[in-house]
Symmetry: C2
Subunit: 351 residues, 2 copies
Amino acid sequence: KQTFEPNEHQHIRYNPLRDEWILVSAHRMKRPWKGQLEKPTEVNITRHDPTNPLCPGATRANGEVNPEYESTYVFDNDFPSLQPDAPDPGPSKHPLFQSKAARGDCKVMCFHPHSDITLPLMSIPEIRAVIDKWVELMVELGSTYQWVQIFENKGAMMGCSNPHPHCQVWASSFLPNEPRIADQTQRDHYKSHKMPMLVEYAKLESQNKERIVVENEDWLVVVPYWAMWPFQTLLIPRRHVLRLQDLSDNERDSLASIMKRLLTKYDNLFEVSFPYSMGWHGAPTGQSLLDDNSHWQLHAHYYPPLLRSATIRKFMVGYELLAQAQRDLTPEQAAERLRNLPEIHYKLGQN
Amino acid sequence: KQTFEPNEHQHIRYNPLRDEWILVSAHRMKRPWKGQLEKPTEVNITRHDPTNPLCPGATRANGEVNPEYESTYVFDNDFPSLQPDAPDPGPSKHPLFQSKAARGDCKVMCFHPHSDITLPLMSIPEIRAVIDKWVELMVELGSTYQWVQIFENKGAMMGCSNPHPHCQVWASSFLPNEPRIADQTQRDHYKSHKMPMLVEYAKLESQNKERIVVENEDWLVVVPYWAMWPFQTLLIPRRHVLRLQDLSDNERDSLASIMKRLLTKYDNLFEVSFPYSMGWHGAPTGQSLLDDNSHWQLHAHYYPPLLRSATIRKFMVGYELLAQAQRDLTPEQAAERLRNLPEIHYKLGQN
Ligand SMILES: O=P(O)(O)O[C@H]1O[C@H](CO)[C@@H](O)[C@H](O)[C@H]1O
Ligand SMILES: O=P(O)(O)O[C@H]1O[C@H](CO)[C@@H](O)[C@H](O)[C@H]1O
């Protein structure tokens, strides 16, 4: 009888945050790839394009002119998916045809005045300014909205329509699916284990080391045991922290530092500005600010699509959409590759 | 106070098959698109390429030579994600680090000997041959495996690495996430409504007509009330049918006919060979063949990514991955557009 070897033998792993399983078939990396190649990431971005609505001094779709901002800059999304005043669809007529009101607010946040820079190439104080602005928006929008989703789509491959470094913040009157599931699973874990799931998880990963990519005194980045995307990571504080706004001054500094280290490794993996979608999950806000949310632990998810090279991505398609997520290398293999990469950005290394 | 207008006002809708909500913000179609354009679908595919491992007479990766097949042709996937004999990872050490054995079988099924043809351009008897082969595989693999996932990834955009018309069949010893959820929601509905969810749903949609794309005596294609992808459809039999192998001879013929009509409309929408992932869901098999599965209704999901044109797709990224699916036109608008398209394929119309 063969002994089990995770890098050779397919198996399924449990994702306790989503209460679902994922299929790990690491032997599949041996398969040759003859499918679609992605366009290489754009390399020659001009620092200042006056026609780009995200640049300082540019005119936006609604006719407003951006200030000559020098750090971060936040404005209302000109094509918001969520508006504060949409009317209520009224009561549903049948359980199979249910709709509900959705209200919200969509903001765009520029990270830096230059279009040709990205987070890993920014200085730690510049990244810290981004974090401070995130906290400000969490407090402001979280005072009324139940959920404030901060997310960054980076790279054309991730549907990002503008190369200028930026993220988005969509606040909603309802708790969306993903945080609703994470709320439930963390609540269940807390009840049975008397410890927040991700605080316990961070402690175990920190001892085990196998899936750690980078760590510092306050933070940990791991390729989670149940990662779905090839180089997916989870960024978690060591301390029990409910929301971004609960981070201490020190923790914000060390967050800026660990983000720079992680994102530098990502760029170094295939020597390309690494595409991903990322976002923050913490305890719900609005009315939920009054509830006991001790089961929650703040965390950020990074979901990067690349698999084999700068132009070969993982497709989450047929089997994944209809049956179950499937990955082609183990989380341990992914963590090891990222961990062993230099922490000096490939664009700066040669200087 | 404004009256609610689904095409103008964002709202959320409930997906009873997945027990989750989706955000509908139809006003967002007005937004200009400056992001990534997809490569146009390949147009000049050679009918027979002896180096293509899916063609009749070609040599595959493992050295085997394909027969000169004249209809469908099934062979073992040369790079399977699931193999029949993977060893068991053994007991898990901690609830946050759970893994389990996964066993299975992956097959590839060619639809036709020619590489330059697709389902909507095939004759009804040729499509019927595909359906018969699906049934055969369901019976064969379903005799031991709990789940048999038939799926088609069509187009490079959907990660399909070979233009030759084909689908895949992945059978597994476990019930994957998506069917597990559909099993639960249908079971719950059956308990409280005493009618299979999708039988009831088909009846209501057939009366209402608003979301119907095509229908015939045995089948119905709708853009479901809770559709996530812009032109997503659901194909359901009118009669209560548990699995593909339970279809009558007539129902198989009318299925071939309705598939041709639906896929012709899809191609006609943007006058391009329409990319999608599709797959069949029916009652589980293997051990579950012995259980009462009356809550199940056979159905196929079509998930096409295109949104605005042959080269502008919907990206399911940041907000969608981290919070909730979001769509930019209502299911009713999508159904109307598809319904009004001709049923003669644009490539044949001018002859
Ligand atoms: O097997 P294929 O068609 O080469 O591969 C495609 O479909 C699979 C099943 O959905 C996915 O896991 C792959 O990422 C995708 O590229
Ligand atoms: O708002 P953007 O960046 O133009 O748009 C992008 O992100 C949104 C939120 O994830 C998605 O709904 C869009 O499909 C995507 O193209």
